[in-house]
Subunit: 325 residues, 2 copies
């Protein structure tokens, strides 16, 4: 099948075509990459926009339960929901965090839901590129909301935030007054903080944690892209489906405000430029990992380590070889 036909089938809403298209963009084979590049150009014709929502939370905060409940609620409203993941550790741990569809049992049976595990690559750059393209494919396929999940290891929040219109941080109720070691940089990315498990015994702790974070958010410099009251912290119970409708109302209000005030489009334009830069970097560095250059680089690295050659000269030789190659 050629890229144009595959694009047409994806845009027509054919799920199998979508799955196949994502497999194509996940491949590192040069001929696949060439076809993927063409596919992504055709996909632009769909001219559709989904709400791209990043969701970060450490294991145990209830991400799967939240996605299941929240996703089912949106499907109940007649929406189409896609769930993707960015998890560079999945390649190492030998299984994706989303590999097991029983994690979201109800959602995975819905015809209006599309769930896709993280590409199994060990490099965050590779995972990021593939996921970004999968987001664009789901968008073209007519999904209304795309949830991009990450476990929050190292730089993965930044990567997810750079492909999201909206970034949600999911937390569990904390004991005491500590702020769960959430890094300031991640707090600054968040448009909304949801404190999950606000049910049963944990309700008081959830409320206290929420109020701690609401306080912490007030200390963060106001961003131009935020209307009054954002970023915001609120409690939810994914298990009891409490607070999810309110969270959705707030998300919609936030996005509507950003659209009206030009921040939505401006952010997408910035993100496209960011990914352009990333693609160039990945492409350049990728050449060093492939033959014929790889052997040259390895050989020169040995000479540099032995002190037989300066790093500067060896690098100059690599750059010259790159030009000839």
């Amino acid at each position: 099948m050629d890229a144009a036909t595959l694009a047409k089938d994806v845009i027509a809403g054919n799920r199998r075509a979508l799955a196949r298209a994502i497999t194509l963009v996940e491949s590192a084979r040069p001929d696949h990459r060439a076809m993927a590049t063409e596919l992504m150009e055709h996909i632009k014709d769909a001219d559709r926009q989904a709400l791209r929502t990043g969701l970060s939370g450490t294991p145990g905060v209830g991400k799967s339960t939240l996605i299941e409940s929240f996703g089912m609620m949106l499907i109940g409203k007649g929406m189409k929901v896609a769930v993707l993941a960015v998890d560079p550790s999945s390649a190492r741990s030998g299984g994706s965090i989303l590999g097991d569809k029983t994690r979201m049992e109800m959602l995975s049976r819905e015809k209006n839901a599309f769930i896709r595990p993280s590409p199994s690559q060990s490099e965050l750059g590779g995972v990021a590129r593939r996921t970004r393209e999968a987001v664009a494919l789901c968008e073209a396929a007519g999904y209304d909301i795309i949830l991009i999940e990450t476990v929050g290891v190292g730089q993965s929040e930044t990567v997810v935030s750079e492909m999201s219109d909206l970034f949600v941080l999911l937390l569990a109720p904390a004991g005491g007054d500590e702020l769960q070691g959430v890094k300031r940089g991640i707090m600054e990315m968040a448009d909304m903080i949801l404190v999950n498990k606000a049910d049963g015994d944990l309700l008081p702790a959830a409320k206290r944690t929420c109020s701690d974070y609401a306080g912490a958010l007030r200390l963060i410099r106001k961003r131009p892209q935020d209307p009054e009251g954002f970023p915001k912290a609120m409690t939810v119970s994914a298990l009891q489906e409490d607070g999810l409708a309110e969270a959705w109302d707030d998300m919609q209000a936030l996005i509507a405000w950003r659209r009206e005030n030009g921040f939505f489009d401006a952010r997408r334009a910035e993100q496209a430029e960011y990914w352009f830069g990333q693609e160039i970097r990945l492409g350049l560095l990728g050449q060093l990992e492939r033959e014929p250059l790889k052997s040259t680089v390895d050989d020169l690295a040995r000479q540099v380590a032995q002190g037989a050659m300066t790093p500067t000269r060896a690098a100059a030789d690599v750059l010259a070889a790159l030009k000839e190659g």
Copy 2:
């Protein structure tokens, strides 16, 4: 003057030649870079090794006073001392942290001392490359110890640590029991922590801070390159010249142990490979900043931001242009 002659003069210990050589490696002009690459190869002939000592500390901890006292002590022992700096902020703030030689008034008047401010570049990568080459030049010029100072902004400690045999973290006495917000990553880089200002009123606080850090260091996983008792925390007073001789004894003991056990050479080999990788990265990304490619990149970035082109296609076009160019 050609690179071979300049190298010979540097190796002969000519200070003016050394200053000129460093100016050459700091230049970004392509013809200068070519000559610098050649110079660095000739410099290897000297086959000399200095003790490369990284020194990190935030403004106000007394770095200049320590370098002055410590440097004068070493000069008193008949050694030649070079002081370099890594400060990517110096370009922005309009002046180097080492620009004012009155900062180390006595040291700067010594014929056996060589003090050089940070290259004024705003990119850490550029500052790092230049400083690494300046370190090699000072080493070839016969300096026995090279102090590489950094104010510790962002990634600059990593960069300094990657060009040092020994990494020293300088701290001021802290009030109370907080650990001054020193990031764990920086603690893990340190071979020695010196708590300065252990004099007068601050002596008790300095001792307490030192003991807090000694405790924190014990919690860090033992590294193979450390003999018993390292990494180590101790108090010094740069002002009263207290503890400096002891610190120097410990530094020598540590380095002697690492040399005997192969860690010294292994680390230098690793570092050379690291800089080889960095040089390639800088070289590749540098091409994007220069014409004719720069205009192409800027033009494509505009199209990507406007949504007229996918990031993937635009990046592929840049990579193709790079190959042709």
